[in-house]
Amino acid sequence: MIETRGLRKVYDGHGRQVEALASVDFTVEPGQFVCVVGPSGCGKTTLLRCLAGLLAPTSGEITVGGRPVDGPPDGLAIVFQEYGRSLFPWLRVADNVELPLKAKRLRRTERRGLVDEALAAVGLSDARTAYPWQLSGGMQQRVAIARALAFQPTVLLMDEPFAAVDAQTRADLEDLVRSVWQRFGVTLLFVTHDIDESVYLGQRVIILSSSPTVVVEDLAVDLPAERDQLGTRSDPRFIELRGHVYSRVQQAKRGIMPPEDGAAPPEGGAAPAERGTVPLTKEESSHVAP
């Protein structure tokens, strides 16, 4: 559903070139829930903006739904980190959710049905006439999620959507995202800097290196599909996986790559990054121990 090959992005400005993405290769299958995690400043947002067609890559290929991306792809929705800036402050909640549907030229009755369904799915049926700025941060992000869902996307990108909300709200929103993903059957790419979150949410975790960014590892999260904050997070396998991702991100921060087990894709992206179960090294085990 999403495929990148040799994705490279160099920012060129003021006589200085900054290579944000070196060569990023990965594939997301239809209906998958994939988390992208990496050290802060590793070009996660750049990657996401390229996927969304908001930023032209310097070289490389991106396809979404089989079609090359040269502008915002059809059926793709985004939930931005800055909820306060991605909702229209002059529109009420329901109108915010409805506006993209108007742009899609849907009939009024159809729009109303989608808006109601999406707001119900995020638990905001009562807030439809409120303005975004009358709501808490977590509720505003719910509105943004509802807007994305009402759009009926095939691909949903989320850019550190919960970075700015408090921990308890965050846990609720994580479970909300899991449930709407299962219910609406979208392909979901979730960018985060939070390692726990990436393992808790995803079916796969793509670990990025520091800038210039490559994929360090593509890790399958073999946790049961039914997850809950208490049980999953205390599952030994969760702790194991989290420790592994943590040590990988730490390595990436220190600039150690490609790692010894050859997880980083070679130049040209012929071989896919390592996937499957995680063999733990001694160094990683030390992170796992509480």
Partner: protein, 259 residues
């Protein structure tokens, strides 16, 4: 209810006080040019609420509103074009700077030659001054639109008229309203100025006629009327602003609350 009464009281307190001072200070005045306020007020109703309301006051106000409306439409229209198109902005900026530097009163003789001495000329004088604050503020407002919101529009394919109305104009609306407020006061000044030369009716013309005819209390009453018109217009403007920018004040209040 009581809060509203207090607000009205606050609004009226100083004007009432100033009028009282004027009233008593001028009470015994024998100066021909500075008549007592009582005599100004006594000629006020007869001067303005008769024929002159229809013949002078209303036509002046109609021209003012027409000029303001045209300035708003043209200023917002060009402002959106310039704000969204960098090339156009670079191309037209020098011309606009030149035009903006010309004081509108200096245009009166020119416009008389070009458009005659009728309503068209007077409306054009008003437009020539009022368009600039609207235009420049609109350009700034459009350019200052939030990038995340712009990305949101692109992602959700919000384009064309929907984008213009729900994104471009609405995000520029605080600046547009600031420009419109300036235009309102400039417009009132230019309304008077446009009627000082080559006019045979209008509020400015009448005040000038009173002055040359030594009808001094009547002249003062005209000045008073202009002031009252200014206050009423700005109150009406505030009503409109409260409707248009309700969200903006709400956002600001919410931001202050979260600090």
């Amino acid at each position: 209810m009581t809060r509203r009464l207090i607000r009205v009281g606050m609004f009226l307190a100083l004007p009432v006080l100033l009028f009282a001072i004027w009233w008593f200070a001028s009470a015994g005045s024998t100066d021909f040019y500075q008549p007592p306020l009582s005599s100004i007020l006594s000629v006020f109703p007869d001067t303005w609420f008769g024929d002159r309301m229809v013949k002078d006051v209303l036509p002046s106000l109609a021209r003012l509103l027409a000029g303001l409306a045209l300035a708003l439409v043209a200023g917002i229209g060009f402002g959106v074009l310039l704000g969204t198109n960098r090339t156009l902005r670079a191309l037209l900026e020098p011309v606009f700077e030149f035009l903006r530097a010309i004081p509108p009163p200096a245009l009166v003789p020119v416009l008389i030659l070009l458009a005659g001495i009728g309503d068209t000329m007077k409306v054009l004088v008003i437009v020539s001054g009022c368009i600039w604050p609207v235009l420049l503020n609109t350009v700034e407002g459009v350019r200052g639109a939030d990038e995340v919101l712009a990305d949101t529009c692109r992602t959700y394919r919000i384009t064309g008229r929907l984008r213009l109305y729900h994104f471009v104009l609405r995000s520029a609306s605080p600046q547009i309203m600031a420009g419109a407020r300036q235009a309102l006061s400039i417009g009132l000044i230019l309304m008077v100025i446009s009627e000082l030369k080559a006019a045979n009716e209008g509020l400015g013309f009448t005040v000038r006629e009173f002055q040359t005819g030594f009808q001094i209390p009547e002249m003062w009453s005209g000045v008073l009327l202009l002031g009252i018109i200014g206050v009423v217009l700005s109150l009406l403007f505030r009503l409109v602003e409260r409707r248009v920018l309700g969200w903006y004040h709400g956002v600001r209040a919410a931001e202050r609350g979260s600090l």
